[in-house]
Amino acid sequence: MSEQAIDSGERPGVLARAQKNVLGTPLPRVEGPLKVTGRAPYAYEQAPAGVAYAAVVGAPAGAGRVTAIDDAAALAVPGVVAVLRDDPRMPVGEGNSRAMPARGTDRIFHHGQPVALVVAETQAAAREAAALVHVHVDRAAGRFDMDGEPAQRDHKLGFLPAIDVGDVDAALAAAPVVLDEHYATPVHFPAALEPHASTVWFDGDVLTVRTSNQVIGAARDTIAKAMGLPAERVRVLAPYVGGGFGGKTGVGPEVILAAIAAERLGRPVKVALPRRDTAYLVHHRSATVQHVRIGCDHDGVISAFEHTGTAAQNDDGGFLEPIPFGSLPLYGGANRRFRTDLVRLDLPATGAVRAPGEAIGTFAVECAMDELAERLGLDPIELRRRNEPDRDPTNGKPFSTRRLTDCYDEGARRFGWPDRVPKPGSVRDGEWLIGIGMAAALRGNFTVEASASVRLGADGRAMVSCDMTDIGTGTYTILAQTVAEVLGLDPSHVDVRLGDSDLPRSAGSGGSFGAGSAASAAVLACEDIVAELARRMNASPDELTLADGRASAGGRDASLVELLRGEAIDAIGKSSPGAQAKKTSQASHGAHFAEVAVNAVTGEVRVRRMLGVFDVGRVLNRATAANQLIGGMVWGVSYALGEAAVVDTRSGRFVNPDFGEYHVAVNADVPQIECHFIEEIDDAANQAGAKGVGELGISGAGAAVVNAIYNATGIRVRDVPVTLDTLLAGLPPV
């Protein structure tokens, strides 16, 4: 086993020497043919023999207590097997390996909180009967509106503590120019296309859960804890996941409920959440209100930078949106303050959704920088350049790699930024007002422990295995490329096994750390294999060249099959955080550019083109990395223009929990998008040299769109989404 903490920041020898140039190439997804021909089985497909179907019954009130559950009418529906409502293990919310939701309580934390599970012979019967379970409640007044509820400063929630450096108030008082504005963002649903679904059965005494989940190692621990089983008696399978967006990082209550039902009934149970139920049983991103104060001199050099905000959580939840997380290292300024205040609400739990912190934090800060640039009469890029720090301005650490200004320059050149007309409302094309805008992107880089095993088979084919998931991100493909690169194989000679908790534990998909950590573990495993091959060639690993399934060293040459002598070589690699994470400030960076057209009659906004340039360390696969970044930019269009889950503050119910009225961008909303890279391998980030990609694309993307709307119209909207009604009053007469 090759175990290595990321201490030295040196590139592993096998990667430094590898010259196959397989890594980084836009290799098409290796599992693509399975998916487009319908042969990649998702969690709800394939029914084990004797399967029953479950439907969750939710609390019909937003606050109060459950006093009784009357299931007589439900049990009378033909095909109903059981109504589960009194098992002490029944959870009321989503769990993760660190925190379990409340159970054994009659308290209602939010509307739709699970209170019972109906199991029937068919899905239709289960759902029909679930609607007939009569839940009696003692209603209480609920807290459903962030406005008017007290914000707590002194709380223990979230991973990001309040930061106060220098004297922000004094610096603001002394600054000749001060920007002081409030911004707001609404509730965002994760909105994965594949709704949450699980098939649960006992394989002997092993509880087996095929589920749609991003982080199955942790899911296994959570399920074991919830069920009172040792972890080795739980197996979680998630070979294919139809999108996660943060909403599948924990274990939903329906999974535990189905597991309890499978155990008690002695038969497999399937459960899938109808779209509307995902609003209540899956966490969402909290609405936020944010306050940005920036003080600078007349040249735009910042002396004070403050980014604070308020986010919500219910009384059972432990997460808090880290609103200013992306702002910490972004711009200079000696006096700095960052904080997220907490409001407790009686709504479904808030949690990690698409770049928690950065996605909505950069909206506020990047719009604020646009406003400040205009006030100073400076180009927005020039303002950013003047405040580009040479080390992390909040913690003083050197950056591992930071190519942000290169992203500005390359993006400005490619996009045609110099042609921008700074005066808003200046460019018109028929009925349309045209504008362009830009914003910086930043996503903190996390290093997380991950293991992977690699087998070089006697036939010369390799297999890499770990419990990572591929949530549409390209994990299968980049792991095949990593192993092919190091072992000198064609990627088609590398098999990849993922999505099984019996395989070596990875970091899972979340926080943009999956690809870098899993690829690093695979590289370290390959180091052992290369060392063994070198030994068999009587050479040192540095002397060994692996290419086209052959090994050569010092004039000698042999095929891998000969060297393997009929036996496979197995190795396990493990990468873990080390000194580099403490010594350096690590982040991925980028610059977004957007051109919008705003209809002068109606205020309808259509994005015409977008372009992003990104610094993500080593690019493992140009196609799958671009795919993620472009996807993030589409989410930027979505939250800038459409996404808003509306809470009816009278009832605590969501008004629009479906894809008809919760407006994500559709194809017709998505313009031509270009994605380019400034590639500098970051050896401090991890052994693979790859920084996070997945969440970078959304960071700043919405701000670029909103800044472009301002340039087009002269209307500054600080409360997304920018729907047409927010622009109407400021448009020219028809």
Binding site: P60, E128, R653, H663, D669, D725
Partner: protein, 321 residues
């Protein structure tokens, strides 16, 4: 979804005798059944009936079978050439997949997308008469500003029916008694009043078999739909317009509106303000005043009043150019 019986009709006579809820494309009904907003005891599948042709009549008009899919109707060369407003309205609706399934008859009977109508936990007089209207006093961004009552403020969500209203279409039906009825589209829909659950003049079991379009109108036609995203969104405001000009003056005007009312909306006063007038900002303003004289916002839909005025003005400029 609640369990239901299913029968397939082989003829129009069979269908009306079957005494069930008709289903053709099912693009709206099945969604609502999954939500248990609709809980029919019996579905009568009419999708195999011989009602899928578009035929030209001697008077130059078209008779459209109730089962003609939206995509076929939009792509019919006669519709494109002579009823452009209808083709454009159809293509502005839903998505390509839905238009392939959705039928002409079914589209006339689309239910509202009111958030509270779709949420069985909410009070809704249309879904559950007497349970109240949570849209009033709630979030009502997509709701009506014209033709509402204190019982219901939901909008009709369609595009196609708005164009048909401007074209003075006639809806042909067969009653369970075997009678054929011809109903002008202007008489087809009912305002909510005290019975928002009753949306049309159709009797129980009455089947739409055809839609007749009168001979093609002269003049300029347009359909303009304003919506929150570029596709797959319902109209916040839409305008179907047919205008003829003579000697620099507006000789005739037919204007119907979507997104504003519980039915495709048409107001004779709007047209009266235009006919005989030379186009001018003042004339357009008078037409908008006529349209919006009785408009009432409910909070989050207040913006529809100025939006409707702006869109109508822009459409009239285009139609009288």
């Amino acid at each position: 979804m609640k369990t239901f019986d299913y029968a397939r009709a082989d003829s129009v006579a069979d269908a009306v005798a079957a005494r069930g809820r008709f289903i053709a494309g099912g693009t709206n009904l099945i969604d609502l059944m999954k939500l248990q907003v609709e809980t029919p005891e019996k579905l009568v599948d009419i999708s195999r009936l011989d009602l899928n042709r578009i035929e030209e009549r001697a008077d130059g008009g078209l008779t459209i079978g109730a089962l003609v899919p939206n995509s076929d109707l939009a792509a019919d060369p006669r519709v494109i050439a002579k009823y452009e407003v209808l083709s454009r309205a159809l293509l502005a609706g839903a998505s390509g997949q839905l238009r392939n399934k959705a039928t002409t008859g079914g589209n006339l009977l689309q239910r509202t997308r009111c958030y509270y109508f779709c949420d069985t936990a909410a009070g809704c007089n249309k879904r559950a008469p007497g349970s109240g209207c949570e849209a009033i006093g709630g979030f009502n961004r997509i709701h009506a500003i014209l033709g509402t009552s204190d019982q219901c403020i939901a909008t009709h969500p369609g595009d196609m029916p708005v164009a048909m209203r401007a074209l003075d279409a006639v809806i042909v039906t067969q009653t369970p008694g075997g009678d054929k009825r011809r109903i002008a589209i202007g008489d087809f829909y009912r305002l909510p009043g005290d019975t928002p659950q009753v949306e049309t003049v159709l009797e129980p079991g009455e089947l739409i078999t055809h839609v007749e379009l009168p001979a093609p109108p002269a003049g300029r036609q347009l359909y303009r739909k304003v919506r929150d995203r570029a596709s797959y969104a319902f109209a916040l405001v839409s305008v179907a317009g047919v205008v003829t000009m003579e000697g620099g003056k507006i000789a005739s005007a037919a204007l119907a509106f979507g997104g504003l009312a519980p039915m495709p909306w048409r107001d004779a006063a709007v047209e009266a303000a235009l006919v005989g007038q030379a186009p001018s900002d003042a004339v357009f303003a008078a037409a908008a005043d006529a349209l919006l004289a009785g408009a009432k916002g409910f909070g989050t839909n207040d913006f529809k009043i100025p939006l409707a005025r702006r869109v109508l003005t822009a459409c009239l400029k285009e139609l009288t150019r």
